[in-house]
């Protein structure tokens, strides 16, 4: 390396700085914190009824039990959006009078060890009088349906969000279409299923009266606000720390009733308390997602132009409202983003969130987008078949090509490469070669298929975008305590030894942010990434921020870090110019030194740093005796985009699907660390494969969840994963100051539709299309059997 050339870390596939400790087993998870403490342990008594009235809760005298009646002064969790169609409900920390889903926490047992707590759980008897339950969205909205919550519903029963958009030219465009293509798509309930289930350890400090909560979280600051509000304590009475987090995927951004209870009990008993969730509890009570059905109509011209799109979107959101993003998160995202990468002329949509007596939903990687993309991509394939147009051609005809593009729902799509990613993916896939192989296989009685999926992934959106979910009617009044996430703030400091710390409000949990932010900062400061320590996930040590979710951290926390590091770099150049002469603009920061470009004169950054603190008399401009800068970034958002192509072979006898090839052409803007981006795509595609073929939370007709173990709920393992080929495009958008776009969710968003299209392509000779996921072997084989029986009957008639 040439000493005079500034080193560029951005764009390098640097191994993650986080990994050595985690891979050696030196990670520090909440259960590790608990295991080092002689704390008490709790277990939650949970409802075995989907709907009922608690008549009594009894336990032997030696069992230490907390029920709702013991939670004096504790307020329920309340998350609201300010929209006329939004109906708010409260979530009590423990069920007070009614239970509303199987798994709902009713009481807490406290014991000296986890084993004793588990034993005590067996001794608690809860008498519940069953009440009528609603177990599906259709049941819930029927006239006269039992109400999950006894609140006022302005529209249909149990309808808590009812968003609508109808563009002025819709009816005219719909009427003049040559072809209306009608489909229904749906997704089963899913669990984000992080490897580490939930966990909390609350410590009480008698001297200060402060509590410290270690929990497995994506939003530590928001969690502190939520718990402080529920308990009626000052935020400073609570420190929240998310140590190493064993996977979040969205499921750990929502405030847990259990975490609130654990902090309350710790304060009430003035003892340290731990709760380590079991996998069974995690399945029953730790947030579900994506139980959605969309009825979609596309109005096409004969040449395949989509001139109008109609959608009736239904989301079963379960029994309570997740905090802070609310149960509007699925229906409102679906409503705003359904058109995706397509230039839909006119748009009419109704999108509903409906409460039922099932586990509440919360965001899970992709939120509604896997279903949105399933809808649009199945629509494109069905329309192509019905209109006799090639499936690539119909997409090229409708993909957005001019940017910025204003969508009919009011979103502004920034610079992207929809056409280019589609062409890159189809070239890699070699469609004509595939057609040859498919034809040969069909002659052989084998079913090969190829499926395409194009999508736009809205990422890195800050306050302005999230504020659009509300339609304020009482702005300025304090009646609606809405929460609008968005900005990120960082504090970047150089200490007297020249070491750099970056304190961030974002809260990484597997994204490698401690590596990628260090790469960004080091490009400004001329240091090696190992010299930068990123401090995150501790409310005592970091500035208030929103955390890591919605594919935002690299864009927003990254942008804030870039701004702060530019300021620090400029300050170092000013200090160096004072020593070396010349102007600040003559100074380069290279390998730990400030170097004057023309003379080659140099001074170590550590000298500048030490003197700033220890010899403040040398500071040239009466500046502060510190090297500390804040960075704030709050963008409107940027859209990453990609095209996925799946190749499958369907075993017609068993209904099994083998994914034989998987391609991703991704455009996430500037790649700060290509290895980490590829890792995000691999993990995302795995969860997309799960959605497409494997994972499904199933309630029986009594409202009892029957998939409560990993023998019943089936995440794919590495043996089920195809090799994933990735091509990167890098469109640089002015909407992200780092040039990076978010890429955390794309794999999950695009893969289900690609696989559904591939299976449908494979089975097209049998007239079978896949519209509802997961496409399990049982469902596929049942469809094939029906098709074969139909054929046999037709032959018999003929």
């Amino acid at each position: 390396m040439n000493m005079s050339e500034p080193q560029t870390w951005t764009g390098q596939a640097l191994p993650r700085l986080e990994d050595p400790a985690i891979l050696r087993g030196w990670g520090n998870y909440v259960a590790d914190v608990a295991s080092r403490d002689s704390c008490l342990h709790v277990r939650f008594v949970r409802s075995n009824q989907p709907s009922g009235r608690i008549l009594s809760i009894t336990a032997p005298p030696h069992v230490k039990l907390f029920t709702a009646a013991d939670l004096t002064g504790v307020s329920p969790i309340r998350a609201v959006l300010e929209r006329p169609d939004f109906v708010a409900v409260d979530t009590p920390i423990l069920a007070t009078d009614l239970v509303r889903f199987v798994g709902e926490p009713i009481a807490v047992v406290v014991a000296s060890t986890e084993a004793e707590a588990e034993d005590a759980l067996d001794l608690v008897v809860v008498d519940i009088e069953p009440l009528p339950a609603v177990l599906s969205a259709d049941q819930a909205i029927a006239s006269g349906a039992p109400l999950v919550h006894d609140v006022e519903f302005p529209g249909d029963p149990n309808t808590v969000v009812d968003g609508r958009i109808h563009t002025p030219g819709f009816d005219e465009a719909f009427a003049r279409a040559d072809k209306i293509v009608t489909i229904q798509v749906g997704s089963a309930r899913q669990s984000a299923m992080p490897l580490e289930a939930r966990a909390a350890h609350a410590a009480y400090d008698r001297s200060s009266g402060r509590s410290t909560l270690h929990a497995t979280l994506q939003m530590p600051h928001m969690t502190r606000t939520g718990i402080a509000d529920c308990l009626g304590i000052a935020e400073d009475d609570l420190r929240v720390i998310a140590p190493d987090v064993g996977g979040g995927f969205g499921a750990k951004m929502t405030l847990a009733r259990e975490d609130v209870a654990v902090v309350f009990i710790s304060r009430a008993m003035r003892r340290n308390i731990a709760w380590i969730e079991t996998r069974e509890e995690n399945f029953m009570a730790s947030w579900h997602s994506r139980e959605q059905v969309y009825d979609v109509e596309g109005a096409f011209t004969a040449s395949g132009e989509l001139i109008a799109l109609r959608g009736d979107l239904m989301c079963d959101v379960g029994a309570y409202c997740c905090y802070p993003v609310t149960y509007g998160v699925e229906p409102l995202m679906a409503m705003a983003e359904l058109p995706g990468p397509y230039r839909v002329g006119e748009y009419s949509v109704r999108s509903r969130g409906v409460i039922t007596n099932k586990c509440p939903i919360a965001p899970y990687r992709g939120v509604s987008r896997p279903v949105q993309v399933l809808a649009m991509e199945r629509l494109m394939d069905v329309a192509a078949a019905e209109l006799g147009i090639d499936r690539v051609v119909i997409r090229l005809k409708n993909l957005i090509t001019e940017f910025p593009h204003r969508s009919p729902s009011g979103l502004v799509l920034d610079q992207a490469s929809h056409t280019e990613t589609l062409l890159a993916a189809t070239e890699l896939a070699d469609l004509s070669d595939f057609a040859t192989r498919q034809a040969a296989a069909r002659a052989d009685g084998r079913y090969l298929g190829l499926g395409i999926s194009c999508f736009a992934e809205r990422t890195g959106y800050g306050t302005p975008a999230l504020a659009m979910r509300s339609q304020p009617i009482t702005l300025g009044l304090e009646t609606a305590p809405t929460i609008t996430p968005g900005f990120e703030r960082v504090i970047l400091a150089m200490d007297p030894s020249g070491g750099v710390t970056l304190r961030i409000g974002a809260s990484p949990h597997g994204q490698g942010l401690k590596t990628t932010l260090a790469q960004l900062v080091c490009d400004q400061l001329g240091l090696e990434p190992q010299a930068v320590r990123v401090i995150a996930s501790d409310t005592d040590a970091t500035p208030y921020g929103w955390g890591s979710f919605a594919s935002r951290a690299m864009v927003i926390a990254g942008g804030a870090s870039l701004l702060a590091s530019r300021d620090l770099a400029e300050r170092l150049r000013v200090l160096a110019a004072d020593r070396l002469g010349g102007l600040a603009s003559d100074i380069d920061l290279i390998q730990g030194s400030a170097i004057r470009r023309d003379t080659g004169g140099q001074v170590a950054l550590s000298t500048l740093a030490r003197d700033t603190y220890h010899n403040a008399q040398l500071i040239p401009d009466k500046g502060e005796p510190a090297l500390e800068f804040t960075g704030v970034y709050d963008p409107t958002g940027t859209f990453a985009n990609a095209c996925h192509i799946a190749e499958v072979e369907v075993d017609s006898e068993t209904g099994a699907v083998d994914i034989t090839r998987f391609l991703v052409a991704e455009d996430a803007g500037l790649l700060v660390n290509p290895a980490i981006v590829d890792g995000q795509i691999h993990g995302g595609v795995a969860q997309g494969v799960a959605n497409a073929l494997y994972e499904e939370l199933i309630y029986d007709d009594r409202g009892i969840l029957i998939t409560t173990s990993l023998m019943d709920y089936l995440p794919p393992t590495v043996a089920e994963m195809p090799h994933i080929e990735i091509a990167h495009l890098q469109t640089i958008s002015p909407q992200s100051i780092t040039g990076a776009k978010g890429v955390g969710e794309g794999g999950t968003i695009g893969a289900p539709a690609a696989i559904a299209n591939a299976i449908s392509d494979a089975l097209s000779p049998l007239g079978i299309g896949v519209f509802h996921l997961p496409a399990t072997p049982h469902r596929i084989r049942t469809a094939i059997r029906a098709a074969q029986n139909r054929t046999a009957q037709e032959e018999a008639i003929a």
Partner: protein, 285 residues
């Protein structure tokens, strides 16, 4: 700790283990690999008060080849059978079955006898025992007895082993070179318990089926010997059509129940698909 409280003993001999077991047979469970028992205890579906760990008992694992039979000691690990050098059609069947048991870490720990004593109808070893009319030897302080497979497997998770008895060895018939054996199973993911599994052993002499054995898993509470499939094939000239006819006969004979992995019609379809695959494997050179 998720299981309910239990006492743990680790005897150093079979006699000591039987003595421990006799103290309180109904509240004790024998722990070998723990492949199924430990998860059931963690779910508190099993709540034994005492665990008798047989892992220290000497001379409790291994395969002995006799003139007409092969004896497998109960604590023989799945992996030992996967790596077994036993020749002939029985060795083929044992290796092909072993590799389908769970994942590698499970196969290093789980045992042949433990799997048979647990009596899961989708378990490879229960199917093999049923297929070949294995004889199970059990011992207690009262003595030793041998139980044929037809009497051994009684109901779901229920065998003829009395609560004071320990399964000590399993005897399988040595199969001559005219036998061809096979196993085919269908699971959602690699290593999962099969939704349906088919095992077959067919003796073909001069192109004619002289012995036909078919045992199916996942279609009933215990391994299902398909008399219909067997009688379809017996005495007939071997052909692909015969295989399909046998599979159809088996599919019509079984009466499976439905669960979240598949309904009865789907399991019948899997029998149709898998038996030819097991037999195809069986007759391929």
């Amino acid at each position: 700790m998720k299981p309910s409280p239990f006492e743990y003993v680790r005897p150093a001999s079979l006699e000591e283990a039987l003595t421990e077991l006799a103290r309180d047979p109904d509240e004790s469970k024998v722990l070998a690999g723990g492949q199924s028992l430990i998860p059931m205890m963690n779910f508190r579906l099993a709540r034994p008060e005492r665990l008798i760990d047989i892992n220290d008992i000497p001379d409790f694992a291994g395969v002995t080849v006799g003139d007409t039979s092969v004896n497998i000691k109960a604590r023989t690990r799945h992996l030992a059978l996967q790596n077994s050098s036993l020749s002939g059609p029985l060795g083929d069947l044992l290796r092909r079955s072993a590799v389908q048991v769970g994942h590698l870490p499970i196969r290093t720990r789980g045992t042949f006898g433990g799997s048979i004593a647990h009596c899961d109808a989708a378990s490879e070893w229960c199917l093999v025992a049923s297929l070949l009319d294995a004889e199970m030897t059990v011992e207690s302080l009262r003595g030793e007895r041998t139980i044929p497979a037809s009497e051994f497997f009684q109901a779901i998770f229920t065998t003829a082993i009395e609560s004071d008895e320990i399964l000590t060895s399993i005897s399988l018939p040595a199969l001559d070179g005219n036998y061809r054996t096979g196993i085919a199973e269908f699971a959602r993911r690699a290593g999962d318990f099969a939704i349906v599994a088919a095992t077959a052993a067919v003796q073909v002499v001069d192109g004619t089926v002289r012995d036909a054995r078919v045992s199916l898993g996942g279609v009933s509470e215990i391994p299902f010997r398909s008399a219909a499939a067997e009688s379809t094939m017996l005495g007939q000239p071997w052909s692909a059509e015969l295989v399909r006819a046998a599979a159809e006969a088996a599919a019509l004979e079984v009466d499976p129940s439905s669960d979240s992995h598949g309904d009865a019609a789907y399991r019948r379809d899997l029998v149709r698909a898998l038996l030819p695959r097991a037999l195809g494997e069986a007759v391929s050179p």
